[in-house]
Structure formats: structure tokens, C-alpha cells
Amino acid sequence: MSATDVLSCEFENPVMPYLRQERLPHIWCPGCGIGTTVNCFTRALADSGMDLDKVAIVSGIGCTGRVAGYMNLDSFHTTHGRAIPFATGLKLANPELKVVVYSGDGDLSAIGGNHLIHAARRNMDLMVVCVNNFTYGMTGGQVAPTTPLGATQTTMPYGNFETPFNLPFLADACGAVYVARWTVYHVKQLAKAMLEGLKKKGFVFIEAMAPCPTLYSRRNRLGDGVDQLKYYKEKSKIVNGANTKDVGLSLFQGDIVVGKFVDRERPTWLDAMNEHFTQHFGEKFTPYGVSHAQD
């Protein structure tokens, strides 16, 4: 934004141009952390200087799945768990687009877990933002693959006894080129990670821990959204480059390791395809699409 833009919208929230204002107010509860992640995302978009006509957002289903509908971008609200394969089709059919997948922990790692691991393995050029609230918010607080041991959920009424996923480790092991975790207490770092994610070529996985005061916190007597932020503040330790094996969150209200864990290079699926076919077919093959510019 130029200086004059800033002056002319002196009283306007800088987030507004990135949102579909005619769709506000949003559906999220007071104290919900999803909105904070969206705020970070709009900052990342603003700082990226990208042509927003070329950025598309794809969500699955859930409270987080509603993010696509509020963003003033080409936006797709798909089916539960399938945002990644939809985004894969969108990206491969028009490689000029930067495609962001924005969805919940249940959507991406339970019903959509298979797509997550394969897209990471293929190094599909997608940025995935996973809002982890440890629960299925939209359906009323059932156990998720992220729910810590001992936390109570409507379908784990006596406390969760299932071991949760360590999402950064999963994404790392499957081949993601960028893996980070931040909480909504770490707004600057989260926005920066999203900015880096937008600029990164390949499969990017950003876990954004966010409170669900209405369901997760209330059922577990953890207070409101602010109390969860206090927990994030007190128990988080920044360890950039941490071994993702060591960043699991299985303990109820346990320590949280945040940071940028993985940042590496690997050919994307499309680059590998183009290179392979060029070798195989020679001049007869016209490389498919144009790669997303890493300006």
C-alpha cells in the first residue's frame, strides 16, 4: 500500500480490502482464533505484493472452511477433506495461479489425511494453512486427530485416549518443503510464515494453533479465548529448525514448540513432469504452463 492509500483509508481497517465486505459479519464465535489467522493472512497478502487476481483460495468444510468465502480472491468452498485435490486440479490446470488451501485440522488430517500426505509427497505447489483448534468445531466439538490425550470431547466424553498426530512431523516426513507452526498469539511470526509460504515454491504446510472457546475450551474448562492465548504465551517455545519429531502436542495443555521447522528445495510435481517429458520427448514437448514466479 502506498502512503496516499494509507491516508485515504485512514479510518478503514487495512484488512478490509482483502475481505468480501458484503459478507460480513462472519459466522465465527467471539474469541475464536480463526479470524486472527485470517488477519495474518491478509497481512501476508498485502506484504507479498502479489497480483491478487492470480491468488486463489480453496477450503474444505468446517468453521475454518468458511475462510475461503470471506476472502476477496477467487475462492472455493469445496467438500469435507478434499480441498487439497481440488486445489491440485486448479493449480495444474493453471500453473500461473498461486493456490492456497485454508482449512481445519479435522478436514485436512482426518478425512483429508490421504490427500495431505500425497500432495506433500508429490511436492505439489500449494500453500496449506491448517488451523488447529484440536477439535471439530463446526459439528460441535468431537474428537479430532489432533485432540491431546485426556482432553474431553463430545465423542470422547471420558477424555481422549487416542494418540494425536504431530502434524509438522507428518508433513515433513512426507516431503513438504516448508513446515512451520505458530499460534495466534504469534501474529507477526504467523503472518511472516504465510508471506514466506506465498513466496515459496512447492508444498508448504503451516499449522496455526487457534482457540475454539465455544467448544474445546468450554468443555475442558479452559476459560475463554484470552485464556487460551495466555496458555500459548506461557507454554510456547520458539525453536526454529527444531526436529519435527520433537514437536508433538499430545499432552493436554502441554508445552508447545513453535517456529519454522523446515525450509528446503525440491522440484515440484509440475517441474519434475516438465523436466522429465522434455528429456523424453525432446523438442516435440512444450513445457506445460508457466511456473509461479518467485519474485
Binding site: 468480501r20 459478507r23 487476481d53 492470480k54 486463489a56 480453496v58 468444510i61 475461503a68 468465502g69 476477496n72 480472491l73 477467487d74 475462492s75 472455493f76 468452498h77 469445496t78 467438500t79 477433506g81 478434499r82 487439497i84 485435490p85 481440488f86 486445489a87 491440485t88 486440479g89 486448479l90 493449480k91 495444474l92 490446470a93 493453471n94 500461473e96 495461479l97 490421504n114 490427500h115 500425497h118 517429458f277 520427448f281 516435440k284 514437448f285 512444450t286 506445460y288
Partner: protein, 385 residues
């Protein structure tokens, strides 16, 4: 508009139905396909994977049919003509995304090379038992289009029609092959690109700001744009208004669902594609589709030789069902005979349309092979009495 010559393999070929279907898709302009291997459909995508790099397009084998059936929808919103290919178990996995294609109005072709079911059933043997599944399988109300080719040549020709209908009506179009049609090898003539008519997507001429994704004219089919062109569209599987925004109330539901249904029902007459042979003045009419129509043809010839006035009506488009035509014939014929490789699916439609005016003799078959012509002949004789 004519086909893009890059996708058209003009010439005379000796290929099976699966390969011909792939060539039909390429000729129709399909430039993005996604699939997951499953007998007896895999050859379609195998050929696509081999051909597409030099045609200029994309094939990706995904991790499952859920992924394939939604990746094509992402690709359609990026502007491509798209297809996915499967058989029974894969089709069952795709059900949720048929609904998404219906509600979001995503032009898409879904090839189902039918095999015996339920479940893993008979992977390598034919059936026609998914006919009702594609009509009703996804939850909620919607109106798909389905075509039933009966030869490799038709796998080519009708595939072009399938893509054209998908673009015209913005619905999921099902290409209902079966194991026999898929694997039978016959002569297939592929014409020059200039002789192949293809329907271009219904792109809008409106500018961003003026355009509303689900606003329609009398055709009831909205104009389309693609991601990346500055329209900043929102597309959702939720009930939505003309802007594409969620509208979760009975009024919006009524408006949207009725339009989705009516854009096909109002055009049902235009969509009728039946091949009739001697139905006028016939006492008995055999109604068949797909591979069964070829067996039935032999039985009809034999019945005529035996002096029975029998006609043959073949459904080329099975959905929407040509109810009006069956109703007309019901007033003049004694009986319909409906052989099909299932336990009685399209026969229900014939009964519904005949509405008691003519008898309907079903000839169900559990699949695994085709009918014996003699069995159909015997049914025709029974119907003629």
C-alpha cells in the same frame, strides 16, 4: 466451433472402446483428466496419459477416486474441459463430488465402464447396473445426463457429444460404458478435426463487477468465468444465491434446486436421443441400451423372421429418460420388452412412462456376461401373445 486438430487422431483405427473413448475425449477438447486405476476402465486413462504430453494438457493419477473426482472440478474452474474415469467401486466413492458438480454447475464428464457388482463384484465382467446410481446416487435432487454407447465407434462419437452436453448444460455427464463395449475391438473412424463440432464453454462477456456467477437467462444455464481472470468468484457446495454466496434458507434452496432441475427437464425434448427401428405399427417394442442393444438387435431380427411385428428402441441418452416417447408408443403397442444387465433399473422408467397403457416385460440379468439372444427372443414371443 471445430475441434482443435491437436487432439484429433484422424484416420481409420482398429481399437477397443476404452481407447476410442479416450480419443473421443481428446477430440472433444478434454485437456485435463484425473483418475485412479480400476478394471475395466483403466485403459482410457492409460491412453490419455500416453497421448496428452504431446497434445498439450495434463493427466494425473491421484491417490483415490475422491481426489480424482474433485481435482477435475478444480481444473474446470481453471478453464479446462475435464474428465474422470472409473468403474463401480470408484464410482461409489465419487458420489459426493457428483453432487458438488451438480450444485456448483461444473461441466465435467464422468466415464463409468460398468462391471458386475455390488462391491468388488465381477471386476473383469460386464454389467449395466450403475444406471440408477448415476441418476440418484449423490444425495439431494439433481438431474444428470447419461449416454450409453454400444460400440467403439460410438465410444468415440458419443464422447464428443458428452463433452458438448457438459458444456451446454453445465452438469456432470455420465458416459455409461460396460466391460464388453470397453474391451471389444472394432473399426473406429476418426474424422478430420474440421468435421467435428465442439461446444465451447459458455464464457461470459461481462466484466468483473457486472458478473454474477449464478445469474441466468431463459436458458437457466449461467455463464462461466475462470479463476485468475480477475472476477474474484466464490464457488461453494452450499446452497447459494446468484452471487455464489451461501444462502441457507428455504427460499434460496427452492430457487436454486428448481433451476438445477429445470435446466435439464425443460430441455428434455431436445435431449432425447433414441435410435428407433421399426417401432411404428409394431406390437412389441424392445427397449435397450449399451451392449444389450446389440444382443437385442439379433433377437429382433429373429422375431421378425418368425413373423412378429417387433420394433427396437435404443436409448442413446439414458438420462434424461425419453418418457414422452415411451408414453406415445404405449398408446399403440401391446408390450415393451426391457432386457438389461441388471435386476431391473431402466425397466422401472419404462413402466413409469407406459403408465399401465402397455405391458412391460422385464428381462433382468445379474451380469457377468450378456443376454442370450434366444432369451430375448422368447420374451418377445411372450409379449406378442
Amino acid at each position: 466451433m471445430h475441434a482443435d486438430p491437436k487432439g484429433v487422431l484422424t484416420g481409420i483405427h482398429f481399437i477397443d472402446g476404452d481407447h476410442a473413448a479416450c480419443e473421443g475425449a481428446l477430440a472433444a477438447g478434454c485437456r485435463f483428466a484425473a483418475g485412479y486405476p480400476i478394471t475395466p476402465s483403466t485403459e482410457v486413462v492409460e491412453r490419455f496419459a500416453a497421448r496428452i504430453p504431446l497434445v498439450g494438457g495434463m493427466f494425473i493419477q491421484l491417490e483415490d477416486e475422491l481426489a480424482s473426482s474433485i481435482a477435475i472440478q478444480g481444473a474446470a474452474w481453471a478453464g479446462k474441459k475435464v474428465m474422470t474415469v472409473t468403474s463401480g467401486p470408484g464410482l461409489s466413492l465419487m458420489m459426493e463430488h457428483i453432487g458438488l458438480a451438480a450444485i456448483a454447475e461444473v461441466p465435467s464428464v464422468w466415464v463409468d465402464v460398468q462391471r458386475g457388482g455390488p462391491s468388488t463384484g465381477l471386476p473383469t465382467l460386464p454389467a449395466q447396473a450403475d444406471m440408477m446410481q448415476v441418476k440418484w446416487g449423490s444425495h439431494g435432487d439433481y438431474e444428470p445426463i447419461a449416454l450409453s454407447p454400444n460400440s467403439p465407434q460410438e465410444c468415440f462419437d458419443l464422447m464428443i457429444k458428452a463433452f458438448n452436453l457438459a458444456e451446454t448444460y453445465r452438469v456432470p455427464v455420465f458416459f455409461m460404458m460396460d466391460e464388453v463395449v470397453g474391451h471389444m475391438t472394432e473399426r473406429v473412424v476418426i474424422p478430420e478435426a474440421s468435421e467435428i463440432e465442439v461446444v465451447e464453454r459458455k464464457w461470459t462477456a461481462k466484466k468483473p463487477g457486472e458478473y454474477r456467477p449464478y445469474e441466468t437467462d431463459a436458458s437457466l444455464v449461467p455463464e462461466m468465468v475462470k479463476a485468475g481472470d480477475g472476477y474474484r468468484i466464490h464457488i461453494t457446495g452450499l446452497t447459494h444465491d446468484e452471487r455464489g454466496y451461501p444462502a441457507l434458507n428455504p427460499q434460496a434452496q427452492d430457487k436454486l434446486v428448481k433451476r438445477l432441475i429445470n435446466k435439464i427437464r425443460a430441455n428434455a425434448d431436445k435431449l432425447v436421443d433414441v435410435r428407433e427401428d421399426g417401432v411404428e405399427g409394431a406390437d412389441v417394442v424392445v427397449v435397450s441400451f449399451g451392449i444389450t442393444s446389440r444382443v437385442a438387435g439379433a433377437a429382433v431380427d429373429a422375431a421378425r423372421a418368425a413373423g412378429i411385428k417387433v420394433g427396437h428402441l435404443r436409448l442413446v441418452i439414458t438420462w434424461p429418460f425419453p418418457a414422452q416417447r415411451i408414453r406415445q408408443l404405449a398408446a399403440t403397442v401391446k408390450a415393451f420388452v426391457v432386457p438389461e444387465l441388471n435386476m431391473g433399473q431402466m425397466a422401472l422408467e419404462v413402466e413409469r412412462a407406459a403408465a399401465g397403457k402397455a405391458a412391460v416385460l422385464t428381462l433382468p440379468h445379474a451380469g457377468g456376461t450378456v443376454h442370450e439372444p434366444a432369451a430375448i427372443l422368447a420374451k418377445i414371443k411372450e409379449a406378442a401373445q
